[in-house]
């Protein structure tokens, strides 16, 4: 059973719908015990990292997530879930969970493309990935695949070895990060068509060990 962490009363059912389509059993839950007993956990979400971490702490879920990370439970962070795992976010200068060393940073302003045109922030729409390593969860990702992003901040881990894939938007930013049993992506696999569903399917079968 995959626990989909729903810390704020269910306005994010799209991960559940995608898992249903794949025939993967899951439960959307905010119950610490249910999350603790899951064999996999997904943390989806949109919004500001600081506020989310406060809500997680209030619900006692932050401790459970640390526990699962330490125990080796396969852990997938999506969008906001790729940000709260770092130490701090520049968005309202907030403390995060600190599972991975690093910070969440805003796209530089002004953000320019290679032709010198101003780029809009948030980064909203479809963009590609450049893999840095062969992570099992990204096994099916092809060079031409694109994924749906919507964010104004991005994760910046403290060391290159935590960067699994990058994406180009005015700057080259880490779009998939992780270590050990933790993998997290800034884009929404549940909203990225077939290539996104393949990532979720891989995660549902992943044993939590990375390639190295």
């Amino acid at each position: 059973m995959i626990a989909v962490v729903d810390y704020k009363a269910g306005n994010l059912r799209s991960v559940e719908r995608a898992l249903n389509r794949l025939g993967v059993p899951c439960a959307v839950t905010a119950d610490p015990d249910a999350i603790r007993s899951a064999d996999r956990v997904i943390f989806p979400g949109v919004g500001a990292a600081g506020a989310a971490v406060e809500d997680l702490e209030a619900a006692g879920i932050d401790r459970v997530l640390r526990e699962l990370f330490d125990r080796g439970t396969p852990f997938l962070g999506i969008c906001l879930g790729a940000q709260i795992i770092l130490e701090r976010s520049e968005e309202n200068d907030a403390a995060c969970l600190g599972l991975l060393p690093g910070t969440v940073t805003r796209f530089p302003s002004p953000l320019l493309d290679e032709a010198g045109e101003r780029l809009k922030v948030p980064h909203m729409g479809w963009n590609g990935l450049r893999k840095r390593s062969n992570h099992p969860v990204l096994e099916d990702v092809r060079e031409t695949d694109e994924f749906y992003f919507v964010h104004g901040y991005y994760p910046r881990p403290a060391a290159e070895r935590y960067v699994i894939a990058t994406t180009e938007y005015g700057t080259l930013f880490p779009s998939v990060i992780g270590t050990r049993n933790l993998v997290a992506m800034q884009f929404h696999p549940e909203k990225s068509g077939a290539p996104g569903l393949r990532i979720l399917e891989r995660f549902a079968r992943w044993d939590g060990r990375d390639a190295e």
Binding site: G10, K120, M124, W126, Y169, E190, K191
Partner: protein, 260 residues
């Protein structure tokens, strides 16, 4: 690099699409769920549903459509038409839409944008704008006026000023429809699109007037649009989403080209 988005728009009344849709060589389909799936499989980047159901007591039909679409397609989609309150937004988002679009209601009561953005996040809130070209005046210096109620009522508001105000209130995206170009199939209103898109910091979807793929190309280049809304050009089989994307790619526009 970010791709330009191609977004089919479906008008829905009482749970059925209003335009008799004739896919190339196929039979006519009026079911929004089937059509959404068809466009999804063809590589649409997003889908817009516009609910034109007249009576409010039949709105539950649309919620059911949204729920069924959300089980079938795994790309973002938005719902507009008849969204007036936070509760309207909540119901549509809970049913599975990624975004809601507000139009007339926001012009009448701009605070709905701020409240919606605060409750659900700016990324959820699309500002729909219906705009008409007018003689520039002191009140309307840009020469583009906001119209509401499907183009029937003028507001005396400047379109550019409204776009900037809505962005400041928390709108995450603008869907910009030219009343003058809409239905003409003569091309998007490029001047308007470039004016608004060049001034706001949020993405702008060009809408109204597409008759051929070159029109899309113009809107995405000279018009500086981040995305284009397409309706009759795909509904009536002039071209498919895939043909649009292949052609735009040939013309040097970055688009997403995966079809499965």
């Amino acid at each position: 690099m970010l791709s330009k988005r191609i977004i089919p728009c479906l008008d829905v009344r009482d749970g059925k699409t209003t335009k008799g849709i004739r896919f190339q060589g196929n039979v006519e389909i009026g079911d929004p769920v089937e059509m959404a799936r068809f466009y999804y499989e063809q590589g649409a980047d997003e889908i817009v549903f516009y609910d034109i159901t007249a009576s409010s007591d039949r709105r539950d039909i649309m919620i059911d459509v949204v729920d069924r679409v959300a089980r079938e397609i795994f790309i973002p989609f938005s719902v507009g038409g008849g969204i007036r309150t936070l509760e309207d937004m909540r119901r549509v988002l809970l049913a599975g839409a990624e975004k809601v679009s507000v139009n007339s209601a926001a012009v009448r009561e701009p605070s709905i944008i701020r409240e919606g953005a605060r409750a659900f996040g700016s990324q959820c809130i699309v500002l729909g704008m219906d705009v008409k070209r007018v003689e520039p005046t002191r009140e309307i210096p840009s020469g583009y006026e906001m119209v509401i109620n499907g183009g029937r009522s003028c507001t005396g508001r400047d379109a550019l000023a409204w776009a900037l105000e809505a962005e400041a209130l928390g709108a995450g995206e603008i869907c910009l429809n030219s009343i003058d170009a809409d239905g003409t199939r003569q091309g998007y209103e490029l001047e308007l699109t470039a004016l608004i898109s060049g001034r706001v910091g949020i993405p702008v979807i060009a809408s109204g007037g597409a008759g051929c793929i070159e029109h899309l190309f113009e809107a995405l280049t000279g018009g500086r649009a981040d995305a284009v809304l397409v309706a009759s050009i795909v509904h009536y089989g002039t071209c498919t989403i895939r043909e649009i994307k292949e052609r735009l790619h040939e013309l040097g526009v970055k688009v997403r080209r995966t079809w499965d």
